[in-house]
Amino acid sequence: MTTTSQALNPSGELMLLTRRYRTTRTITSVLKYFVLIVLSLSFLFPLYWMVATALKDDPQVYTLPPILIPSPAHWENFIKGWTFRYNFTQFAINSIFRYGIPVTLFTVVSSVISAYGFSRLRWWGRDFLFILCMGTMMLPWQVTMVPLFITYKKLGWLNSYLPLVVPSLFGAPYFIFLLRQFFMGLPEELSDAARIDGASELDILVRIILPLSVPAMAVVALFRFLGAWNDYLGPLIYANREDLFTLAVGLHRLNIAATSMGTTGNAQPYLMAVSTMVTLPVILLFFFAQRTFIEGISMTGLKG
């Protein structure tokens, strides 16, 4: 007896659903989920191990074979690690209020204005300048690093956040590109109608384009903030004094301190506890803004 019915398989394949076909399909399906689960576990394991180590004490950390689930769990490691060597609250304030928020705010505003000029206005030379703008993405940071460092030194900006924040007033090519793509997708009739009513271009940008562009601006804000949060090299060069450390630089310093302590004094658990605290906001941000993340990153690749 053979059951026959027509069905579409996942890749859109028109097939006769026979018993043999069903068996193969089950095997492929099982294999697929097996691969996916193994992959997911190996992608997650390092993060799990970070959290698990954060909750252990020294004897649990250095036991062989490794202990998979910390017991007892030392939640106080999060508080002790946060303060035992450096004042990470200060570093968090630096990361968020001196670096992340100003840079994000300035980047969004300046990139939106520039992207508007590159997309919703027609003028001679626009496309040429846009190509130049895209070209600068190829410029390695190392090329401008030395002259900028010397300039900032002459301005007395070393050991401050000015070298990290001021450039964000001037737009970022990558985000200008993203916003331009988005603006070009909005119907031209919206602007035309407003122009007939006598609105200025600034009016049109603020009153018509901006309310429609919240998703795109969210993408820019999210990625820019993450960029600042994760940045290591910038603060290493320019904010390299203990009261100015960001979380990233502070964490690296803590690692140096922990290494010198070796396998004593709960150095590793404390280090992992602070690492967890620095990673956690990023993961939480991902959970709450998953759609913005996925849409944003899809946007970057599609119109390459």
Partner: protein, 307 residues
């Protein structure tokens, strides 16, 4: 499509002139930034590359000595070039292929697809410093979890980051752990491939492998190219992970271009030499990108002549 504005229009037509000024006004944030943080340092950097400059005394012009010195007398330079090329040529293709395969796996009808996608994406947004801390600890020769498991299975511990032969492959694997961004990009582009193409291929008798190479790959090739280019540009400049994981060691086996340059600039205060290195890197990246674009005409498919 409105008619193209010519320079003639701008000269003769008052309205076009006003439009030009308005346009420039709007792009002025970027334009000013381009001049101040792009063109100006670019020019000055080239000038510095022709000087000896230690930040204390003013620059001394020495012609192309920094370049000649780098190529002929810098004992590290060719090691650094080899290390960086090794990393670039293995890491970028490996990460791209891995990401592409995972994306294809997720593009089938999968229960919990967004959960799998999320899990694979998350490592790519973990701060690089945390990534370094995690892997330093995981791979530690004495008490790292991975060697702990190996030893529990009766195998010998592997000196992942302390053996010059293993340090670069280890870095490449850690970089591949963070390939989730590309997975999401590929997945989005795979979902844009018209299903009718697959149906037509099946009617023509193509099997799954043939469909992959003759439909999936060509249809997503512009996105693959984009990812390769961005990956290569980034890999040539890789700094944070090797700096934090190995500090360039052991035996300079992970001393990459960016590390060498950073040391020249900020540890040895040889700003002139560092600038010359930066220009060498810039030229390598330009050549690389141009060659990739040129050869891409052979394998990248742009549908419907929209380019």
């Amino acid at each position: 499509m409105p008619p193209k504005i010519t320079f003639q229009d701008v000269v003769e037509n008052k309205r076009e002139r006003r439009r030009l000024w308005l346009g420039l006004l709007f792009v002025s944030p970027w334009l000013l930034g381009f001049l101040l943080f792009g063109i100006y340092p670019l020019v000055i950097s080239f000038y510095y590359s022709l000087t000896r400059y230690d930040l204390i005394q003013s620059p001394v012009f020495i012609g192309f000595d920094n370049y000649i010195r780098t190529f002929t007398r810098d004992p590290r330079f060719w090691t650094v070039m080899f290390n960086t090329a090794y990393y670039v040529f293995l890491s970028v293709p490996l990460s791209t292929i891995t990401a592409f395969l995972i994306a294809n796996l997720l593009n089938t009808k999968t229960a919990g697809r967004s959960i799998f996608r999320g899990i694979i994406y998350i490592p790519s947004i973990v701060p690089a410093v945390c990534t370094a801390m995690i892997w330093l600890f995981l791979l530690n020769i004495q008490y790292g979890a991975i060697n702990g498991i190996l030893q529990a299975l009766g195998l010998r511990a592997i000196p992942f980051l302390s053996d010059p032969n293993l340090s670069k492959p280890t870095l490449i694997l850690i970089a591949a752990w963070a390939c989730g961004g590309s997975v999401v990009i590929f997945l989005a582009s795979l979902q844009d491939v018209p299903r009718t193409l697959y149906e037509a291929a099946i009617v023509d008798g193509a099997n799954a492998v043939q469909r992959f190479f003759n439909v999936t790959v060509p249809m997503t090739s512009p996105v693959i190219l984009f990812n390769l280019i961005m990956g290569f540009i980034g890999a040539w400049q890789e700094f944070t992970l090797p700096w934090l994981l190995t500090g360039g060691g052991p035996a300079a086996s992970t001393e990459f271009f960016a590390l060498h340059l950073y040391r020249n600039a900020f540890q040895n205060l040889r700003m002139g030499n560092a600038s010359a290195l930066a220009w060498i890197l810039f030229i390598i990246i330009i050549i690389f990108t141009v060659v990739l674009f040129r050869t891409s005409a052979r394998w990248v498919y742009y549908g419907g002549g929209d380019r």
